[in-house]
Amino acid sequence: MAPDGRMFQTGGRKGELHDLRQGLNATTTKERKNALKRTVAAMTLGRDVSSLFTDVVKNTAGDISMKKLVYLYIINYAQSKPDLSILIVNTFIKDAKDHNPLIRALAIRTMALIPLEKITEYLCDPLHAALHDADPYVRKTAAVCVAKLYDTNPTLAVSEGFIDELRQLLADGNPMTVSNAVAALSEIAEASNNPNLLPLSAQTIPRFLSALSECTEWGQICILDAIGSYTPTTSDEADQMVERIVPRLQHANPAVVLAVVRVIVRLMPLLDSQEKRDFLVKKMSAPLISLLTTPPELQFVALRNFSLLITDYPHLFSNDVRAFFVSYADPLYVKTEKLNILVRLTDEANAEDVLAEMVEYSGEVDAQFAQKAVASISQIAVRLPQLSGQCVNVFSDILKRQMPHITGEVAIALKDVLRCYPRQFEEIVPQLCQYSELIEDPNAKSALVWIIGEHADRLPSAVSMLNVIVDGIHEETINVQQQVLTACLKAFVLCGPEAQAVTKRMITYATEESESIDLRDRGFIYQRLLEHGVETAQKVVLSNKVGIDHSQSRIPADLSKKLLDSLSSVASVYHQSPHLFQGVRKRMPITSEVDESMAEEDLLGLEPTVEEPGENFTHPAITDGSSSVSKPVGDSLLDDILGGSSDLRALPPPSQNKINTGRSLSLEGLLNPPNKSIHSSEANDMLLSAEEGNGLSIHGQLVARTTNSLFLLLKLHNVGQSPTCDFAIQLNTNCFALKLAAPMDNINIPPGKSASIEVPLHVDGEADEAKGFELQVAIKFSPGGIVYFAVDLLKHLSVFMDRKSGPMEKPSYLEAWRKVPDYAELSTTINVNSDMANALGRISETFASAGIFTVAKRAHVKPPVMYLSSRFIGPLNCVIMAELTLPLDRGTGVGKISSRSTLPAEMSKPALTRFNTICGELLR
């Protein structure tokens, strides 16, 4: 038999397609099979062989190996040949009834992968059968198929009851079927943002735990990941869970080990005995260290995760420092990560060993790694004052080696150390200067010049060195020039007349010769400063240095917590918010045909719409901070806008987050995107002018971040002359029962600067309806005293619509509707965008993400009508109900919304006016 490899080489020849076509229609099976292979090979290389579709499809009747090739081909080209694909439906259906379980599974697996509606329609019957197939191989395949179907057509997946059938599979006797059902349900739960889909409770958890030991390694990971999101209610329960999963730490698969660690770390805070927690930390340490004997790519993931773990468990590896010593054979990315861990594990006990290693690394051939090693030493020095002396001695040793790329790096590293511990290690300065001619890199040179300037009075050669540098100042980069200028001034202030000449030369260069505006400005400033006398200059240039924040490179606490929750994930490797990695699910638009096929619903007593996918999969709006840079603009936009992000640092400036669909633009203004508001004050309302605010102007707005968690975002601008501090904030009682969740952070705003703060709010105060839709706020600060302002809650009404509540029950909806007198109803005509009007599903989707839920809809009456409900969060416990009449004939046109509320009469009208406007904007 000729090796198949040759098939890859036939490319480019004229008539290749013709040859293949002949082969596919040949009389002998052998020839046909051969042609099939060549077709698939060509497809893999990216050549277009779609024109052979009909010829390929003819070969489905062959044996299983040919079938597999044909199916592989079909998956690739079905979408581009939708009409022809229908031809093979019959084959699929026939195969789904084959006596061989492999073929039955293959048929449904392939069918489910083809995102064509006409195929999925035919998938339902075989899939129902497959979920109850006698053979577990077919059942486990079918379980995954449900997730696929949900991905392409969620409506169908729900309406056909596949989700329920999937849940039944959780009790299947076959471990692989169970783990695939868990995987599929977790996936659907995530996509629909319905975490309750997978029943996790004190009753079901033990069942999952016992399935654990029977599953394949991959199945174990699925189950561990799934039960990781369950929070036990008692410490005993947590104890039992831990006990059941701890043995898995001994599994040979690193992914299983990390999945176990992830669950343990989540359960850890729930355990009541410190002894137990210590035991677990000890228990985890050895298996984690063993991950360092895996291939380098896995080591890399492990090391990135370790740095998350040691933030919370600093003693996890305290006995294993040597395991992180770098091997010469490690790739650079592993070496760098080991170095990072070493820096953080260093303490007085192991300092000698670690520093000796760093010295060794600083001599490595790989310049990049050697430089990182030097930088690590300074990080240790800055982090641990008691070791700083030792570190400086190490620098002195390294300098003696006179290696150019390292000497420069030592200068940069020393700058940090000297800045952190002023006047403590001056003896190293002359030594560094001795090797100054080795320093070429501009950054290193800047650092050197800074050091010379700072220590000019203790360094006899300072002035002469500056003279040499100023001689060649033309050749330096602008950053070095600026440093030289400042250093000269420092030297002049510190050494007096001796440095006068060089300072003058440098200032002359800066103000007269240089073409850089920055340098010239600085030159002029210094010139005038000196005109005020040396003392003034001294005050400025020798002012206290801002200390070095060694925690700077650390991950913020809230992000760190999120990352620990998603240990072993891509986000945990990048140390970036997991939300940035949650790509959008590819969603097929729910077309009008789907609407048509949906059952008619009558308000009076038909099946509830809760299960309807139109709402089921629109909940992502509720997700916590789902804003993502990478998301393409589309249906997910709502998620972006409403979700907001608690990790604003990870977001790009809003300009990059351009939103360009018309519908979204209107939404944007409406729903107060929090990420926008932080970056640009324009989006905020002016709440208090500087005159009224005693020198403090305040802009701000209310936003909902995660579900029902509210924030008052304030931007405080200090226009006064003196710094403001000692801030405190207080809210008056109000209709939505808003209350401070935490006192205001203590901030300090220098004159002319602004600060943005977030005040977390709760809605568990007392509702005070007398205040109307006004939130009165008082801010106290010194020196301004107390200032008052009000936030218009009506404007922020959308923030209070509960996005979690779901639609009202039909009977109570009807009852509530009838209770409101007809005259209290508010009707507004609205313009409806034609795209929207064509898809009721999309309307419910859009509305649900804004907290307005569809109670029922009548798609087939003319004009179509939808019944909506929206509940307010908090103890106010009020509901707005609305009847939305869409334009006749479903084209663009004028519709009508009539709404009623259970609010007190005087509040009802403004609220309904606002509500109707919101709906109108959503539909535009």
Binding site: Q250, I289, V301, M403, S566, V570
Partner: protein, 431 residues
């Protein structure tokens, strides 16, 4: 949850195999990966992870021989699962066609597509036991056990062993292989010594045998004593961490340190273990370099620090030399030395190196008079590396005490145990 698609690329970045599992990424995204990898200035710039922010996708890849295995995901997937899965692919391919490289991937592309289809569904890893896969993925691949019928074991709790296996002679072989990782500083201090061991089993047993393995593991002794078993005497070993094959009952091990399992048929790695103990480096090397303007002399001394009667075999000591040396000449008291200019090392090989023996190698090189002292300085910063193996010996002292085989047909099976120590990451820094 996991991979959207998987690609196998050749050394020039051309796609050999591509499989789209979820349809949520376009298949041409692989070009982004190619660009990033092949435009990188040197290998050190390449990390296993690449992220393309605008498209919101992450590439995760490993390299094996001259191919790249790349997984693409657009979610916050489990990175460890993806990487272990890619390594699993290589393992399964290896078991199918021995050498995995560009040519063998091309030659076997049909079976690879089939395997991918079987091993991953919608991005979720599925069946990855090659012993089971081989029972039914046999396309164009002549495997004697080919049946084309799905084995029951595929989805079973015991997913690694088929029922009804028959062997004429029931035998089981156990290889205990210990890798010793050593790091010695330039001043001769032992910085790190670690033993990474594994037990590789070859089982040729009929039916569904239940095996129980006894080691001289200290905790196993203690657990057995606690259960009222006989007090054990003799040396025991403290294993720091143990990793088991899927087949071992982990809960039982956690309870009473008993290692019990139903083995797969054929060869598999039963367990791996690791211990960090201060051990005497089995082979000690000292190198002295005398560098003069036009020549450089190496005097390298090696000696064994083994138990009496142990013999180190196939010893290879690689000593780094300056990159611009020429006209080498060597004198060795035992073994042979050879200059390997492509790696800038001298490899000194000794076939048999007995316990307590010492050997010296003297090497002389000429140096061109022009040469950068700095380059020469750097060259000596590389460590000496040592390879060797010592049969019938474990440095940790681990011993197999028993291996009980229980099968309902009641046959007897004698276990055969072999021990071996090999050098792992064994480095001695030059002073």
């Amino acid at each position: 949850m996991v991979a959207s698609s998987i690609f196998i690329l050749d050394s020039r970045g051309k796609t050999i195999i591509s499989r789209n599992f979820r349809g949520d990424v376009a298949m041409d995204v692989i070009n982004i990966f190619k660009q990033r990898v092949f435009e990188a200035q040197d290998d050190s710039q390449i990390t296993p992870f690449f992220r393309h922010d605008e498209k919101g996708i992450t590439f995760i890849h490993i390299r094996h021989a001259n191919i790249y295995l790349v997984a693409v995901t657009r979610r916050n997937s489990n990175a460890t699962v993806i990487l272990t899965f890619l390594y699993k692919l290589v393992q399964v391919f290896t078991e199918y066609f021995r050498d995995v490289h560009e040519e063998s991937i091309r030659d076997n592309f049909v079976v690879i597509y089939e395997l991918l289809d079987e091993m991953m569904d919608f991005g979720f890893p599925q069946i990855s036991e090659s012993k089971i896969l081989r029972k039914y993925i046999t396309q164009d691949y002549r495997v004697s056990e080919s049946t084309g019928v799905l084995p029951v074991a595929a989805t079973n709790a015991v997913s690694w062993r088929s029922e009804g296996i028959k062997h004429i002679r029931n035998e089981v072989f156990l290889d205990v292989i210990e890798k010793v990782n050593i790091l010695v500083s330039g001043s001769g201090n032992l910085l790190r010594s670690e033993i990474v061991g594994k037990l590789v089993m070859k089982s040729y047993l009929s039916g569904m045998p239940n095996l129980k393995l006894g080691l001289n593991d200290r905790l196993q002794f203690e657990a057995s004593a606690a259960r009222g078993g006989p007090e054990r005497k003799g040396k025991s070993v403290d294993l720091e961490d143990i990793k088991f094959h899927q087949c071992v009952r982990l809960a039982k091990f956690e309870n009473d340190r008993t290692i019990s399992f139903i083995p797969p048929d054929g060869t598999f790695e039963l367990m791996g273990y690791r211990l960090n103990t201060q051990v005497k480096p089995p082979i000690w090397v000292d190198a002295v370099i005398e560098q003069r303007p036009t020549r450089v002399d190496y005097i390298v001394k090696a000696r064994t620090q083994l138990k009496p009667r142990a013999i180190a075999k196939s010893v290879k000591i690689a000593i780094p030399v300056l990159p611009d040396v020429d006209t080498p000449s060597f004198k060795c008291t035992s073994g042979r030395a050879k200059y390997a200019p492509e790696k800038d090392v001298v490899v000194w090989s000794i076939k048999q190196f007995k316990a307590g023996q010492e050997a010296v190698m003297r090497g002389h090189f000429s140096l061109p008079s022009i040469g950068k002292a700095e380059n020469r300085e750097n060259a000596t910063k590389r460590p000496i590396s040592v390879e060797f193996e010592v049969p019938y010996f474990t440095i940790s002292g681990l011993q197999v005490r028993f291996l009980k085989v229980v099968e309902k047909s009641g046959y007897q099976a004698a276990p055969w145990v072999r021990y071996k120590m090999v050098a792992g990451d064994y480095q001695i820094r030059m002073s």
